[in-house]
Symmetry: C2
Subunit: 163 residues, 2 copies
DNA sequence: TATTGTTATACTCTATAACTATA
DNA sequence: TATAGTTATAGAGTATAACAATA
């Protein structure tokens, strides 16, 4: 637009546009997969994604987690964790256990039924993920993993010329 | 687990696990960026992501879109589009216009104020995206775009050995 | 009859804030 | 005082289904 636009500015505009297109594609790919998984979890197991995620957190920590730790890991506020745990407890998939050391707190863990149910769901879930990522060959998946690692860590492997 | 497990099965298990890790990383990267954008849109412009998305759809189609077309493009049901358009119309950012050809339908488009407001939001939005993707150099972003294109299209560039 | 859009309802997730019990 | 967790409230987004007007 500017008559004084330099090559660098032109290039910067083009790169900005490319970043925006990349973000829209990243978002649409992820959303499409997530929606598919969400729908299948609901249809086949009658469970929502946040509940599945909470159970997955507990599955990784057999000794259980406190409400506040769950809140931190799931990045949602405490009140929400309470309601999700309430629902899962009603279905006897998780249990609250008193802690002798601190009577304000307690430990949430999977019940035996919860472990069994989660195992079936996790197996199906993994199958869906494999299926939905199948358009990418194994070496492409590795490459994608590496690129996303760079994006996540915030550590560029190549320095950028533009400030 | 199985005593008869062949090398292929072992490899398949390893690849399945890698796919799952890739999916979790894809999800966390995307969610992190999306949450940041959502939060900034709310704080700086008092708008939600679905409303921003609807305005973005309209910005691309100056002649406007019908409710059903908006519903299709945003992949949400008609009732939801009605409520989002209602809110934006109340803020005078979009307008409903009668269509002579079909009196059941009408055209939704950005108002002048809506175009102005959207321009400011879109510019900020693009800047955030550039910032959040900055850990990746330009050539890495191109690579990521290509890989996601393969994932999206469902057309593997390499055939897979496993059925 | 089919389609366009609205309305009503219900549910989940979310954040905020006030609250209780314990440390 | 501070912390762990709960409760209450409000709001957004979503799907479903019944509905009115028009084609």
């Amino acid at each position: 637009m500017n008559i004084d636009a330099t090559d660098m500015e032109v290039r910067a505009h083009a790169e900005h546009h490319a970043s925006l297109r990349l973000w829209l594609r990243l978002l649409s790919c992820t959303t499409r997969i997530e929606d598919t998984i969400r729908q299948r979890l609901r249809e086949q197991f009658g469970i929502t994604l946040p509940r599945f995620d909470l159970m997955a957190q507990l599955e990784r920590e057999p000794q259980g987690l406190s409400m506040s730790e769950l809140s931190r890991r799931m990045m949602v506020t405490g009140g929400n964790v309470t309601s999700i745990v309430d629902q899962l407890e009603k279905e006897q998939l998780v249990q609250r256990q008193m802690q002798a050391s601190d009577r304000r707190s307690f430990t949430v863990s999977l019940t035996e039924a919860g472990r069994t149910a989660f195992a079936a769901m996790a197996q199906a879930h993994e199958g869906w993920v494999v299926e939905l990522l199948a358009p990418l060959a194994a070496n492409q998946q590795e490459h994608l993993q590496a690129l996303l690692g760079t994006l996540k860590s915030g550590t560029p492997t190549h320095s950028k010329e533009t400030k």
